[in-house]
């Protein structure tokens, strides 16, 4: 309850100032206007018409639902590609000195380049539309997953390996049944960072390379000076980001029931 005090005060102040005509509404709209616009953005444009389509598809026909779906689709595909490449490479680099020495220099050079810096190249290679966006997102997801997977495998406690070898484990068993699960807390932490990065990158790439999605929508709103829609869109982006992060937290809680926590 105490946590609600400050937001309510800020909103009240903002609403008061806006109602008093202190700001030009094209620059800073009133919070109520934003709320109204957010609702309009969420809900369907057309009234329900049972002869045309089903209730559910009507309910989900709002602009925001379509934008969110487009953005999440890109995050999902981009993350799947980025993490799908990072995981095996990270496992190899963590487990094998040779693989580490071969790949690490390249990784160290590429890793500090922000995914955003790939935008010109992405457009040059893939044109406009989903492919460049997904390319950028997979780069954003790739490095966090890679770095954490390497660290996770490298820090596997040697005693688990000795215990497993003593119980008759060969190299493959050791890898799949000991190193992989032992590294899982790190890998999942990397996946969480990777999804977060992917979500940042999707917004940026939609502002540049695509004509749909949440990032595209707020940039489009700027062209019409719809500041209320810009903020409504930002709000949506924040809420979805929060939802993704809580989903990832929940997922690792489920997958890591056995785990003591980061300090063990």
């Amino acid at each position: 309850m105490r946590g609600a005090v400050i937001p309510v005060l800020v909103l009240a102040l903002w609403q008061g100032l806006a109602a008093g005509g202190v700001f030009n509404p094209e620059v800073l709209p009133a919070p109520l206007a934003v709320a109204v616009r957010w609702w309009a953005y969420l809900t369907p444009d057309q009234p329900f018409d049972p002869t045309r389509d089903g209730f559910l598809s009507w309910l989900l026909s709002g602009e925001m639902v379509g934008d969110a779906a487009a953005s999440l689709y890109r995050v999902l595909v981009g993350f799947a590609i980025g993490a799908g490449l990072a995981l095996p490479l990270g496992l190899a680099m963590g487990a094998s000195r040779l693989a580490f020495e071969v790949f690490n220099p390249l990784v160290q050079v590429l890793r500090p380049i922000p995914p955003i810096a790939y935008i010109p190249l992405a457009i040059l290679w893939f044109g406009l539309g989903n492919p460049p966006a997904i390319f950028l997102i997979s780069i954003g997801a790739f490095f966090p997953v890679l770095m954490n997977t390497i660290a996770g495998v490298q820090t596997v406690d040697g005693i688990y390996i000795r215990a497993a070898r003593n119980l008759g484990a060969g190299p493959v068993t050791l890898f799949l049944r000991v190193m992989l699960p032992a590294a899982m807390p790190y890998i999942l932490a990397g996946a969480r960072i990777g999804v977060g990065t992917a979500f940042i990158v999707v917004i940026v790439s939609e502002m540049i390379a695509v004509n749909s999605g949440l990032g595209y929508r707020i940039l489009e709103a700027r062209e019409y000076f719809w500041s209320d829609k810009i903020i409504a869109g930002m709000l949506t982006i924040g809420l979805i980001g929060l939802a993704i992060d809580s989903f990832m937290t929940r997922l690792s809680d489920v997958l890591l029931v056995w785990h003591r926590g980061p300090d063990s």
């Binding site: 215990a163 497993a164 070898r165 119980l167 008759g168 484990a169 049944r177 899982m184 785990h259």
Partner: protein
């Protein structure tokens, strides 16, 4: 009777060739089948090194180790190892930890379940079968580690200060339990400890090691009838004898520590 484990002239040097640290020097030792042998000595005298060499985790710099007439070249499920740190797989439940060795051997699931249940019952772990190691006490974890090894039914148990991290009461319970299992399953046990009481309670023979380099200082047979009372007069006589031997090495250990003489 031919010994089950034969250790001949085993030397282990650590570090670089220029300035080697001799952990073990020329150790000769034989362990009979079914024997309970304790390796005793102050910390740093090479007990773990010797045990790890028998387990096949490290190769001696010189000398040979044979088990059942076959030279040891690597770890094997005929020599089950129990670590002081338990080394349970934290991502597996108690039952899955105990079944791990059978699982990777490809034993059918129904048979694994059967054997695991039997072992859990024998070690009074049944009600914890679905728990994860993090939710168990130290004593329980070590029980699981012992069950995990027994699941593969190895003739030899190698135990490296398995009860060293436990409180006195838990420790004494587990000692009794281990003796019960040892008698029931007729295992050969090589048990590392730095506790004289523990060695006298458990061992058929106590091997006292010297400190730096580690060699066999004396082998003390313990003929007290089992179950043993470690506070009996006979046990006390033995304790005094063994304590004197260990103290000599402990003193050398302190001197080396304080004078910093070459390792």
């Amino acid at each position: 009777m031919t010994p089950l484990i034969t250790i001949r002239g085993v030397t282990k040097r650590y570090g670089d060739a220029g300035r080697p640290m001799v952990a073990l020097e020329n150790v000769d030792l034989e362990v009979a089948a079914g024997e309970f042998l304790c390796l005793l000595g102050p910390s740093g005298c090479g007990k773990s090194t010797l045990l790890n060499a028998i387990a096949g985790f490290l190769r001696p710099s010189a000398g040979t180790i044979e088990v059942g007439g076959v030279p040891v070249t690597g770890p094997g499920p005929d020599r089950g190892m129990v670590f002081q740190e338990y080394a349970l797989f934290p991502w597996l439940t108690v039952a899955a930890n105990v079944g791990f060795g059978l699982r990777i051997k490809g034993v059918p699931r129904t048979e694994i379940a059967l054997r695991v249940e039997r072992l859990l019952a024998q070690l009074t772990l049944s009600e914890f079968r679905h728990r994860y190691p993090k939710d168990l006490s130290g004593g329980m974890r070590q029980r699981v580690a012992i069950a995990r090894i027994l699941a593969l039914d190895p003739p030899i148990l190698l135990m490296d200060e398995p009860f060293g991290a436990l409180d006195a009461l838990t420790r004494s319970n587990l000692q009794d339990e281990l003796l019960r299992l040892w008698e029931q399953f007729r295992k050969t046990v090589v048990f590392v400890t730095h506790s004289i009481d523990e060695a006298i309670h458990l061992a058929d023979r106590i091997v006292v090691l010297t400190y730096r380099p580690g060699t066999v200082k004396r082998i003390v047979p313990v003929t007290l009838p089992r179950p043993r009372d470690v506070s009996s007069p006979e046990a006390n006589i033995l304790k005094r004898e063994v304590t004197a031997l260990v103290m000599e090495e402990q003193t050398r250990f302190r001197q080396q520590e304080t004078t910093g003489s070459p390792a």
